[in-house]
Amino acid sequence: MNTQELARKIRIDAVHMTSRGGSSHVGAILSMADIVAVLYGSVMNIDPADPRKADRDRFLLSKGHAGAGVYAALAEVGFFPVENLRTHYQDGSKLSGHVSHKGIPGVEFSTGSLGHGLPVGTGMAYSAKLRGAGHRVFVLLGDGECDEGSNWESILFAAHHQLDNLVAIVDFNKIQSLASVSETLALEPFADKWRSFGWHVEEVDGHDHAKLRERLETSAPGKPTCVLAHTTKGKGVSFMEDSVLWHYRSPQGEELAAALQELKEVA
């Protein structure tokens, strides 16, 4: 499956999952769907038949509220049956609203509280360096999540220890929980902040698969890489795009039908 098709499936799965569960965060999932599709469909060395193989690339979703998008990606590339996605958010399911590793092949790390993924990914990257292992560690963060101080502790640490096997990707859609990032706690000049902390920074259109692939495969010797992926929250469903509302609202009825219609029409 090419990454465009994978992204489309992740979006459709996510709309179904958040509708069925009456759950939030569909906008956050649509925002990162292309990034996740390019990682799982092209960039990362992973094997659904051997989810724990030693030389796999590691992926940690730090913005755990978008976990349905990772479950969808894992199912679509073959880590577990796509039908299992129907249990998301339901009583007795293993697929919780925030991503959890328990009983889910392919999920590296459970999150939900923001600011946890990067420190742990830093530990994994440090371990790979210690052991001379060649795999890479990808951590996907939200932009609002960058308010958390724990990230900045790890940003210092990873640069100091020259963890060039670590890639932090920021899903930079400029909207956080209650309002825009610029109205909440301004991050700009965001790229300069990462650079000044000693990171190599790549800025990219977070919906352009060819460019994402190129940037995610880039590394700079002796420096961890930050990929600032400029995205649109709710990408792919016109009425969800750039809207705080769809951080929370669950698509139902006519909205569900309209969303699916738009996503299915994508070539």
Binding site: S113, P119, V120, T122, Y126, S127, S150, E153, F157
Partner: protein, 313 residues
């Protein structure tokens, strides 16, 4: 206890390259030898406990056996969520080592008084919570915690009881050690304050009161059987902890005895009662201020209805 911890960890690191020690920029003069001998097994995370604990989890997920190290509350309180969500939920072999339990850093003020740690750590699912009473227990616990899977909390006190190891005795996590025989009452202690309990028992013996003394080095999982026996066989139980009485040793003992359907003839918790200490003083001074030193323990035992008889006789 700190020296015994690092001495044992150094030996372990030599034999096992998986061992990694991460400090939150503390341990001046104490960790130098370890750092020089095992540079690949030593990390200074900087003054950044959240990052330190996440880092520890990442390393543990890759198969390392990790110890995080800082003083008093710093090693667990700000980064409690990392201990809970990251290390414990992922069943990681991360061992959180707090240097300076209770009033160890008494004169430094309340920021440095670790007096709620046991209650907080005990509430986390799956954690092993250990507060050694003497240096031997501290060294043995260090090794035992690394050997078992899962996350742990190790509280190391500045004070320690005199070495209590019996000839040939093997240390076992989760097993209460009975250090003195006696049926008049039982002194149940955790941490370095065990020394006060043993001193009190000696003084009470000279007054004709024979106290059983138990070292509860492992607060979780708790060795309930030994406590049940003590409740049945002796005149009462006195729990002794350099810690709030809410949620720590006293609570753990009471909860478990109630559930076992055993009511001691007398029960009293010695510890801090809903107080932050703003008094300045050494560990010994603060123990005396807050009624948890030898003299306070002796007085509490003498006031127990069941022991009055023993002492009078």
């Amino acid at each position: 206890m700190r020296d015994e911890f690092i001495e044992r960890l150094t030996r372990m690191a030599e034999a096992d390259p998986r061992i990694v020690l991460i400090t939150g920029d503390l341990g001046f003069g104490v960790l130098d030898d370890f750092r020089e001998r095992f540079p690949k097994q030593f990390i200074n995370a900087g003054v950044a406990e959240q990052s330190m604990t996440g880092l520890a989890t990442g390393l543990a997920l890759e198969g390392h056996v990790v110890f995080t190290y800082s003083i008093a509350n710093f090693v667990f309180m700000r980064c409690l969520e990392q201990i809970r969500n990251d290390a414990a939920y992922h069943d990681c072999n991360v061992n959180v080592v707090s240097i300076g339990g209770g009033f160890s850093y008494g004169a430094l003020g309340i920021s440095h008084h670790a007096t709620e740690d046991l209650a907080i750590m005990r509430s986390l699912p799956g954690l092993t919570v250990v507060a050694p009473g003497d240096k031997w227990e501290a060294a043995e616990a260090t090794e035992a915690l690394a050997t078992q899977p899962g996350t742990s909390f190790l509280r190391l006190d500045k004070s320690a009881a005199e070495n209590t190891q019996q000839p040939g005795e093997q240390f076992e996590l989760g097993k209460i050690r009975q250090l003195r025989e006696g049926d008049d009452c039982t002194l149940v202690a955790t941490g370095g304050i065990l020394g006060e309990a043993l001193a009190a028992a000696e003084e009470l013996k000279s007054k004709g009161c024979h106290c059983r003394v138990l070292s509860v080095h492992t607060l979780k999982p708790l060795d309930v059987e030994v406590l049940v026996r003590a409740a049945r066989e002796t005149g009462g139980l006195l729990t002794i902890e350099e810690h709030t009485v809410e949620g720590g040793l006293g609570s753990a003992v009471a909860e478990n005895l109630m559930e076992a359907g055993v009511m001691p003839r007398h029960f009293q918790r010695i510890g801090l009662r809903n107080t932050f200490s703003s008094v300045v003083g050494s560990q010994q001074y603060l123990r005396s201020q807050y009624g948890m030193d030898r003299a306070a323990i002796v007085a509490a035992v003498e006031a127990m209805p069941s022991t009055k008889v023993a002492i009078a006789a």
